[in-house]
């Protein structure tokens, strides 16, 4: 394995994916509004400030995970529209580089999405993180994002060549990301001081998120080539 070649390919793929999204505006015009809409609809459905404050962390991460499904489907729709994923495979482009590049591009989009959703939680649900809570929140978002982007890229690649991938992807992905939902929600509850939970109680949950991110980053990088091959 040539590490510099892997990272060169990863940069190339990430830049290409972000450029495609910038041009098509699918994420900004469709996925981000969808995520905000979910937050607004939750507010309508629950219709109680006290309840909304209590459930805000879980709603932020539920909306994130629902949106991940669209982002992952979109990143592979770009690859399969004109057979580009097959072409990458048949051109012998380093699969680890492809995985890392797609994960990086997905993570960048997810971070924008999460910033929007936390802002929505602050405005709609009156979430009010302290400075130390904000540090915990940003760290949680970064670690959870690495995990979600890795597992999304891995399972998206698995579903990419399969009939009915639109319905298969949620079935594969949602059960697997449950640890991220749990860990990120608990950490965010601490960051928002939901029910008086101290900020310090949120940090241990980062361990779960970090282990998840590490496992799926490594497994994805190693297994992606076999996954997209025959």
């Amino acid at each position: 394995m040539n590490v510099s070649s892997t990272f060169r390919v990863a940069r190339l793929i990430a830049a290409k994916d972000l450029r495609v999204e910038w041009r098509s505006r699918v994420v900004t015009n469709q996925v981000l509004p969808f995520a905000v809409l979910v937050m607004v609809l939750f507010a309508f459905a629950l219709d109680s400030d006290a309840v909304l404050e209590r459930v805000a962390p879980g709603l932020v991460w539920l909306a994130t995970i629902f949106s991940v499904l669209f982002l992952v489907a979109r990143t592979y729709a770009v690859e399969t529209a004109d057979g580009a994923l097959d072409a990458l495979r048949s051109a012998g482009v380093d699969p680890m580089g492809i995985f890392l590049g797609k994960t990086a591009a997905l993570a960048a989009q997810l971070l924008v999405l999460e910033a929007l959703l936390v802002s929505a939680a602050v405005i709609l649900y009156r979430a009010d993180p302290t400075p130390s809570g904000t540090v915990l929140l940003v760290t949680t978002a970064l670690v959870a994002t690495v995990g979600l982007a890795s597992v999304g890229t891995l399972y998206g690649g698995l579903a990419a060549g399969v009939k009915g991938r639109e319905t298969l992807l949620p079935l594969l992905l949602l059960p697997v990301v449950a640890p991220v939902l749990i860990g990120a929600t608990r950490a965010t509850e601490s960051a928002f001081r939901t029910n008086g939970i101290a900020v310090s109680e949120g940090w241990p949950w980062l361990g779960l998120l970090a282990v998840f991110a590490a496992i799926f980053s490594v497994v994805g990088a190693v297994a992606f080539g076999s996954l997209i091959d025959e």
């Binding site: 190339l12 450029r19 004109d82 072409a87 990458l88 495979r89 048949s90 051109a91 025959e230």
Partner: protein, 225 residues
């Protein structure tokens, strides 16, 4: 000079009694053929005969179950990844990103192997997609222009062996003429081109030699017209 040190030029493809399986089905059942560098070879035969499978095998996308298979002097049984990097396969799709421009597509594929901007520009010029087409998104191109963009991407990533599956499909008469011209020019510049096609008149006039694929085996049917 060939790898064994003799003065015989090495073949682009050299298969002896090659068997390839799709699942447990022997899609290629003892293929023996030799294609020299710089040739344009037409693979002809009925649907399901194994033409596409043969192209995919040459591209290193299928494992060799039995026999001896060398592509561009590389042993397909042990070095498929290296073969893939030197071979370009264009099937029914073009492998492009429709939202990106022609230049961005060709540059992307070129940079997967570290091609320079000059190489990218040269590839686009050879395929006549520089100038006014360079900054047009691929989604707005005609089928022929998309095919030329895909071929420019092969040139940019220095593919020495071009494997084209039904390259004339979906093109109008003008597009087919343009495609034939660029393929002849590419072969003259040193590329080896293998075309699988049902359109015998069109592809036959392009080819220097024809090989028939029937029931997973090959036989020579003479030169092109």
């Amino acid at each position: 000079m060939s790898s064994d040190g003799s003065s015989t030029p090495s073949a682009a493809i050299e298969f002896v009694d090659v068997v390839a399986l799709i699942g447990s089905f022997p899609a290629l059942a003892g293929v023996t053929m030799r294609i020299e560098r710089g040739e344009i070879v037409l693979l002809r035969g009925p649907n399901g005969a194994g033409k596409t499978t043969l192209l995919r095998l040459c591209a290193g996308l299928l494992p060799v179950e039995r026999g001896t298979a060398r592509v561009l002097e590389l042993d397909l049984t042990i070095d498929r990844d290296s073969v893939r990097r030197r071979v370009g396969l264009i099937g029914h799709t073009n492998g492009s990103y429709p939202d990106l421009t022609v230049t961005e597509n060709v540059r992307f594929w070129g940079r997967t192997i570290g091609a320079t901007d000059d190489e990218v520009a040269s590839a686009m010029e050879r395929m006549k997609i520089d100038g006014r087409l360079a900054d047009v998104p691929v989604s707005r191109l005609s089928a022929g222009q998309r095919r030329r963009t895909a071929l420019a991407s092969l040139i940019a990533r220095r593919a020495q062996l071009w494997l084209l599956d039904e390259p004339h499909a979906g093109l109008d008469a003008e597009g087919r003429d343009e495609l034939d011209a660029v393929l002849r020019a590419a072969a003259a510049a040193g590329a080896t081109i293998v075309v699988a096609s049902h359109e015998l008149e069109r592809a036959g006039s392009l080819a220097t030699r024809q090989i028939e694929v029937v029931a997973g085996q090959t036989r020579e049917v003479g030169g092109g017209s």
